[in-house]
Symmetry: C2
Subunit: 745 residues, 2 copies
């Protein structure tokens, strides 16, 4: 554990030594292990970020054939893979836990000796990686150089300790994880660089919305020599014979004017007579270079690496401390707090310190007095992450809702999969309505509710030119999408869940007609229930069943008709809002229980993808079978979530897997997205204390407690000492009381 | 003729109609025909430029296979070729009369109907081209659209008259004449665009010095729709299969953030209910976008197309009126004034209105209170253009010398072939010393003479790491460069001429030792004289003659050993400073005369390249043979210089061919570069009145007169009524008197 106190002399006193993890970790932030999720396609990165920061710094080790997982030879969505070994820099904007490549640009790289600008040549192996909340360090083998990283919200900070001799700090603007190319750079002075890097085409979608990330890099020591390199495209034809330099890298010494190109970078070189450190601060913005510079100044001017780290550490610790856990092993605490940490990365800030941000679609620069959030992977996060925010960080959740409503103002539509003010239209469904309803029904209501309702109705009802709900006509007319559409079963189910949320909202707003209409719409999945299979099955346009039907098809991202990222088993129970109706449809509790159990027994359950992640909790709907849920959840946590790089089941999906873990370990789960209800399983800590935001909640804390010494079935649930006659509890009941107690056999 | 008076109501009264040339042209500027040199590889362009302007606007018709001379299928150095027919825009920075492709970028193009961004598709034929000093207009067939162009020093101005319907104004930042690629663009508002385009690699040299031209474009009418297009490079490999858009053009509607790429552009679209005009002003700078904007404002803010044209016209007329000619045909006047116009394009301004300019090599931004000139094609211009400037525009010539000295301050070296603060190192020799000496000895001395001398000596004497004089050790040791060097004979001769200039300067400064040393060095060409051939012949490193020796080899840019851009005949008499010595070496006047005549008789004379362009005047060195010069000069003018697009013998070489014509038509020629001397042939006008700058000259005017009605030999030359006993007159004698009279038989 590190404890640093910035003191007035501009120096910093550190009570323990960098890079050494002590065994006396006590604070929640000290349990964070950012390596979790950096293998097994978790797609997280180990580098530092401030809570919901725009900037982050990640070691970048996914380029070059020396790496097992290479970004250009496969679909790879993260800048860092734990089992790779060849590092080519540190990227300054990154996505955490997503399934498509983007960002992963602005690659800073220290080297020593003769200048080399080809990353395949300057890349290096490394050792002694240390990763903590807000801090990362690494030793680069080839250069005998240590790199330490931290970040404030808009600024990535590197502290590089060079050996004696010639040292170079490269800023590579060609290499990157994104599929977009193109950069502009200008060396402003021997201590400052400004520029732009194009990113976008997330999931190989919407290339016309590619956009720039602006940056300003500030160096603590003036470069003795500097310049730009540029590897231009190769000319063909008759002219090529006159160009001895055709396609070759050119080193532009002392270049101080603007250089643009697909494969460019800058070098700052030093000749050190003794080991020296250089600190590099890179401020970013999606608005302008000026704003990047303003962000840099506002957050880090005059501050040392240690001070910035200390501040970021404190921010993390304060947020993570909203949930205090007692009991449980160190690994339990580690996976818990790391998961909570992962839920506090995305959605992240899009606005600069002056409040400016790029609006969605309009091309204008908007301004907010609060936070404009971005990276809404809503198909994932509507299921549990926003529910977690509403409970623990409602002041953030309200800004997220307001950000979604701003998008509606700008764009005419709520977001679906919004990324830095571009709508990527990734995945299916209409999840924003669910998130807004869920938030509202939890009493977090200080947003423009009428506007929100209008936006929800628009996407639910507008038949023509509706980018959010393709196939809506079929859905309304027939009750389901047909095999003419993309993933018709999945999409029907998603629309059902969204319509159920709209129905709840309508009810809350006293709009009875709408309530009925949308509630009825929300049950149309039943038309796809094939009683022979006891599964939902695609239907053709003429109403006939799609044949031949193979319920196994579609797992592990295999493409199939009917389902998006899953097979029939993984969608069969994705009707959380109508489990009672579904049980009836299936033939009662027993059939339901057997069918559900079969998914697990036949190994059809996929922990790594969202459609079925609520399945383990569904046994709670059958009286007497609740222990199956208690046991399953515990098993799944033990099997898939570990204190190791492969310790996430797959893509973290901007924190959705992590939110699943946080809730599961707390023994409550928001089983019906949109509805303010939790279902109860066994907490994995003896005591969990959630600090509640008094603006939204009447109590200061909520405590969840269980027996210390039992692994047995739950035999009694108490709320403030009163017995709860259900494995379900609504949000108001939970937060209006102080103490949920789980008593086991 | 157009006469416009800007009046205070912000309107403009034009006394005659645009585009109609009256037959009553009277003013010097009205004689200018910018089409001269736009064919036969003259490499001039017909579009408007202000005198020595940074911006110019040229129709761009050298792209696409529909054009006979296509930029990518051959070495083509100009944005416009008169016989081509397929136009793809109007470029805003251009080089005039050069031999290598560069600039020719920032292509504005109006189209109508559906947006099309591929220039091969949107290109069009055209008609009704009109070109005048400061003005050009054209009708685009495909779009029924008229484009009129004018320019101030830093701003190109287009007035586009569209028909009713959808109209588009494209700014193509991909297409261009330069071999460099890469641009950045940002739509600032519906009336403004800013950006950067990379240029450089002139003559396929020094790619590491590629640099940006910054621009701001201002539209008189706000676009109704706008956006950016981008055609990115094509991806290879496994990722390509996920990119449906791979390598395709993407239209980025409403894009207002920075876009970078090799092949990008903007579109501004309108929907006009009646024919409408839009004016587009594009300000440029080599320093920054801010400076481009400042240039735009300072020169054109609130001014109409007509006002700007009127001002530019007046500037041209004022400068061209420094020489008034009487007698001669309209064509004579046209080729004369057009030639004078062509000498006033390069060198051109590099500094912005605020005095800032990019320094050479340092990467810094310099500031001048005068003019920082650029585009010094000195291998060409040292022979006559700067001499013309010293005589007629000494206030410009002194700024040119001071610009060269600033380069020495910045770079440590005088320029050789400087282009926008890059040293292209094109051609051979050390010509700056000659220009400086020539200027100084003509009494234009208000520069730092000691520094200039130091700079001259440095390039003449520094043996190691001397970028200006490769092969200097051999030259000093042996007296000549050997076949181990590039063009050893030519280079030896160039060094001789430069050394002669240094000798003259040394003498003028009282540095006797230097004078002797350099004078001796200047005669070393003699060691290459092969009496058998009566030619200069390359020598090998061991001192033996290079064999086999074919004096014919090397004409028409054929590569050969010994000579740069020429053959042995074309260099044989390029010893202007020592013709007396050379005559003696050859065996006397008769041999000399015969050998010189042979060059013409055998058709070895090349009017289109510089080494031999003084040959026609050299008969003046043989008493009794002067008429040969008089006749030859007249013949050559008649044969090669015409009032038609092919009316230049070849590349204008930034005005060198034109300066040759101006002097030749005035009957005087600065036959020894560096020495303030003219030789006399028959003037081609009856009376020529040169307005002299009183800062430098004691008289207000110099008049050159000849008999009105004779084509005969010169029989007497009078200076202010006194007979001149020579066909040579020095600069001081000429300018201290008022009246040179040529009396013919």
């Amino acid at each position: 554990m590190i404890k640093c106190k910035p003191i007035k002399t501009l120096a910093t006193i550190c009570l323990s030594v960098w890079g050494i993890t002590t065994s006396q970790a006590q604070e929640p932030a000290d349990y964070v292990n950012p390596f979790i999720g950096t293998s097994n396609f978790g797609a997280t990165y180990p580098g530092p970020i401030a809570p919901r920061g725009m900037a982050s710094v990640s070691p970048f080790n996914v380029s070059g054939s020396k790496n097992a997982l290479e970004k250009d030879s496969q679909w790879l969505s993260n800048p860092y893979v734990n089992e790779n070994t060849f590092l080519t820099g540190f990227s300054h904007v990154n996505l955490s836990g997503v399934g498509c490549p983007d960002l992963g640009v602005l690659l800073l790289m220290p080297t020593t000796g003769k200048l080399e600008t080809n990353h395949l040549k300057y890349g290096t192996t490394y050792k002694n990686e240390v990763a903590k909340a807000g801090y990362y360090s690494i030793d680069l083998d080839k250069y005998n150089t240590k790199v330490e990283l931290t970040a404030s919200e808009h600024v990535g900070v590197s502290k590089i300790t060079f050996p004696k001799g010639q040292s170079n700090i490269l800023l590579n603007l060609g290499l990157g994880l994104t599929n977009e190319q193109g950069a502009m750079v200008k060396i402003v002075s021997p201590t400052e660089i400004e520029g732009v890097r194009t990113v976008g085409s997330f999931c190989y979608n919407s290339p016309e919305d590619a956009y720039p990330v602006y940056f300003v890099a500030k160096f603590s020591k003036p470069a003795e020599r500097y310049g730009v390199w540029n590897t231009p495209a190769k000319y063909d034809g008759v002219e090529a014979q006159w160009m001895g330099y055709n396609g070759k890298t050119r080193i532009m010494e002392n270049a101080t004017r603007t250089v643009v190109g697909d494969s460019i970078g800058t070098y700052f070189s030093y000749n050190f007579e003794k080991p020296e450190t250089v600190e590099v601060k890179i401020g970013v913005s999606y608005v302008s270079i000026e704003n990047a510079r303003e962000n840099l100044k506002a957050e880090t001017k005059g501050q040392s690496f240690e001070t910035i780290y200390n501040e970021t550490y404190n921010k993390w610790n304060k947020l993570l401390s909203r949930i205090k856990v007692e009991g449980g092993s160190k690994d339990d605490k580690t996976i818990f707090y790391t998961a909570l940490y992962h839920t506090l990365i995305h959605p992240n800030m899009l606005n600069d310190v002056n409040g400016e941000y790029p609006e969605i679609k309009t091309g204008k620069i908007g301004k907010t007095s609060g936070s404009r959030y971005t990276v809404f992977s809503l198909w994932d996060t509507y299921r549990n992450l926003h529910q977690l925010m509403s409970l623990v960080y409602p002041e953030q959740q309200i800004d997220m809702v307001n950000s979604m409503l701003s998008m509606y103002d700008e764009n005419g539509w709520l977001p679906k999969w919004e990324l830095n003010s571009t709508e990527t239209f990734t995945m299916v469904g209409d999840p924003a309505s669910i998130v807004i309803t869920d938030t509202y029904l939890k009493g977090i209501t200080n947003f423009d509710v009428e506007k929100a309702y209008e936006a929800m109705i628009k996407s639910a009802d507008q038949l023509e030119n509706n980018p959010l709900r393709p196939g809506l006509s079929d859905y309304i007319e027939k009750g389901y999408l047909t095999t003419d559409s993309n993933g018709p079963v999945s999409t029907t189910q998603e629309y059902n869940i969204a319509d159920y949320a709209i129905a709840l909202m309508a009810k809350a707003l006293g709009k009875k007609e709408d309530y009925k209409r949308f509630y009825n719409r929300s049950l149309s999945y039943k038309k796809l229930f094939d009683n022979d299979f006891k599964l939902l099955r695609p239907k053709n346009a003429d109403g006939s069943w799609y044949s031949p039907f193979d319920p196994d098809k579609g797992a592990n991202f295999e493409k199939n008709v009917g389902y998006i990222e899953g097979n029939a088993y993984q969608y069969a129970f994705m009707n959380p809002h109508d489990i009672k109706g579904y049980k009836k449809l299936m033939g009662g509790d027993k059939v339901f229980t057997n069918q559900l159990q079969k998914v697990f027994d036949l190994n059809k359950f996929d922990m790594a993808n969202e459609p079925d992640i609520a399945y383990p909790f569904l046994f709670n709907y059958v009286k007497g079978e609740e222990y199956r849920s208690q046991k399953l959840v515990k098993q799944l946590v033990g099997k898939y979530f570990k204190n190791e790089p492969g310790g996430l089941p797959g893509n973290d999906d901007t924190g959705t897997m992590s939110a699943w873990l946080v809730y599961s370990m707390m023994g409550i789960y928001p089983v019906v997205p949109g509805e303010p209800i939790y279902t109860i399983t066994t907490p994995m800590f003896e005591k969990i204390t959630i600090e509640l935001n008094e603006t939204y909640y009447s109590n200061k804390t909520l405590t969840i407690e269980r027996d210390k010494n039992s692994d047995g079935k739950i035999k009694r649930i108490e709320l403030d000492g009163r017995k709860l006659n259900s494995y379900f509890i609504n949000h108001a009941d939970l937060t209006d009381n102080k103490h949920l107690k789980i008593i086991q056999e």
